[in-house]
Symmetry: C2
Subunit: 334 residues, 2 copies
């Protein structure tokens, strides 16, 4: 009897211990939305390599800089950049104050929903729309406009909040790097002040770690109160060869890890991996038409061609959204 009880206890203890280990293992996996595979293994090995004391590739914490593109890397960018949805909604919201827009291009076409006609106006038309919606107010006012808009803006296909169209595996990656002493930055072709109002809440990236394209601004007094006014004049395009320039301008040291998804990120990845020491560069490949979108070499948005050609020879890891990600989007928040 006593022996049976003892055996019973031992068996129970073993089962319980195994169960506990599994729980602990799950709890300890910092990247549960990633399938076990080469991409996940590469991330984990890199972080170990640069953080383990005594490692020959050890990097002191202040030098652990990681940069992330936003559109197509942290959230979706199809069927159009989400900032274009903002422009559309703002033009509609402002139309009552601008009766002249009903006959003036590119506003007239946009208000009629004729995006083809808008696109026919080329870069000049897009710039006009951007300036009409991004300039002319103070920095505080613009921040409030973006915050209000992003709180309810939904994706045209999925109906999800745009902030729910962010990639769960990438958010885990941001948190995993930060837990290992990294400072995480966003380096995007999108507008710097378009991202700042929500990047901290959604990605855990504070405003001072957001780098993007910008327009010029001016300090002045209004009714005796200091304001920063947004001017309809381009200041900086944070895309392609502009990304390393923006990184040097804002961060002042070379990242050791970079994450992108399109050829707009090519130079950022090249700059990050173009110096000695342990480096990590990864490209999110949109190959999952079922759960997200599938596009690369021929896409009008997020074109990925050179990056696919050169990744292997440069030691950049291509992340297959389809195979490497267990989950694409997190649970809906509304």
């Amino acid at each position: 009897m006593k022996a049976r009880i003892t055996r019973g206890y031992i068996a129970a203890a073993i089962v319980w211990t195994l169960a506990l280990s599994a729980t602990v293992a799950r709890a300890q996996d910092p990247l549960p939305a990633w399938n076990d595979g080469a991409a996940k293994a590469r991330v984990v090995a890199f972080v170990k390599e640069v953080t383990e004391p005594g490692s020959k590739s050890f990097v002191p914490a202040p030098e652990r800089i990681a940069v992330f593109d936003n559109d197509g890397t942290l959230w979706s960018e199809q069927p159009v950049y989400f900032q274009a949805l903002f422009i559309r909604d703002r033009v509609k919201a402002l139309a009552a104050k601008h009766p002249e827009w009903s006959t003036k291009e590119p506003f007239a076409s946009l208000l009629k929903g004729d995006l083809k006609a808008v696109m026919a106006g080329g870069e000049k038309a897009l710039l006009q729309l951007a300036m009409a919606t991004h300039a002319g107010m103070t920095s505080d006012e613009f921040s409030a406009i973006v915050s209000d808009w992003i709180a309810t803006a939904k994706h045209p296909n999925t109906g999800r909040l745009l902030t729910d169209m962010t990639y769960q595996p990438m958010k885990e990656l941001l948190a995993f790097l930060r837990a290992n002493g990294f400072k995480t930055f966003i380096v995007s072709g999108g507008g710097i002040e378009f991202m700042r109002p929500w990047a901290e809440r959604v990605y855990g990236v504070p405003p001072e770690q957001v780098i993007g394209s910008s327009i010029k601004t001016k300090y002045e007094l209004r009714d005796g109160k200091p304001v920063i006014v947004r001017l309809p004049d381009l200041n900086f395009i944070d895309d392609k060869a502009g990304k390393p320039v923006g990184i040097q301008q804002h961060i002042g040291r070379r990242p050791i890890a970079a994450f992108g998804n399109s050829d707009g990120d090519y130079e950022m990845l090249a700059w990050t991996t173009g110096a000695p020491g342990a480096r990590l560069a990864m490209i999110v490949h949109h190959d999952d038409a079922t759960r997200e979108f599938a596009y690369d070499r021929k896409s009008h948005i997020g074109k990925l061609d050179r990056g696919l050609n050169d990744a292997a020879s440069k030691g950049w890891t291509v992340i297959s959204m389809k195979n490497d990600w267990k989950t694409v989007f997190g649970p809906e928040t509304r």
Copy 2:
């Protein structure tokens, strides 16, 4: 006998306790280089006010942004900005490669040591000298040049290393704020890449928290390696009304504390204190001819006139270097 021994023990214990208390008090004073007075009390009260849970002025840690001017606020700026000494030394070092400089102004006058003639050339001459010494190399090369120079560059009057001409009370203040969850930034009219190579070592401020004036840069490949090349073309002047613009561009949120010393910092202080909530703005007043320099309203460098006029009405605290600082410079490091 027993009573005497007891009294002796008690007396010894009291003395020892008092000594210990004094030691503890000293050890706990985060600002030992400051005399007890209104300026120090203001700093301590402000930090308590914004950090104490339950305080009606509590500010969450991510929003605790503090900005510091550099020249005249964190280190000396007389008899000339230290970056001017860098320009002088670089022109001398580069002269052998530029035989034409022996007859070309403003280089010829600078090489002859005739600073009056250089100054007579006005802003154009200074810009020429700045571009000849700050552009034409890669960002990595420039960083190495500055690092080498700052390692030995000495003050013309005191013979101290320039990095030893930094103010001990302000370095304590930086550390005190950081210990209370603040992120500390430098916001200077000086060159951003001139400060970054040593700001982390000397002030504990990492490169990504340094904001300054800049020239344009360009990404390119040299022998297949990515570099960022410094161009002889002004990009941004981080002075006066440029400071709030630089702050918004880099940080993207309004500081709650700002420290300056000249009218070049006026708009930064106004921007910082121009919003509701607890705010701290302080001006270092150079009134100590014995230990440092004495200058204000009429100085050609670090002119402080509007700031002195308006400090009281704006609630900005003027720090008297003479009366508020127990120590000006820390011990020499060489």
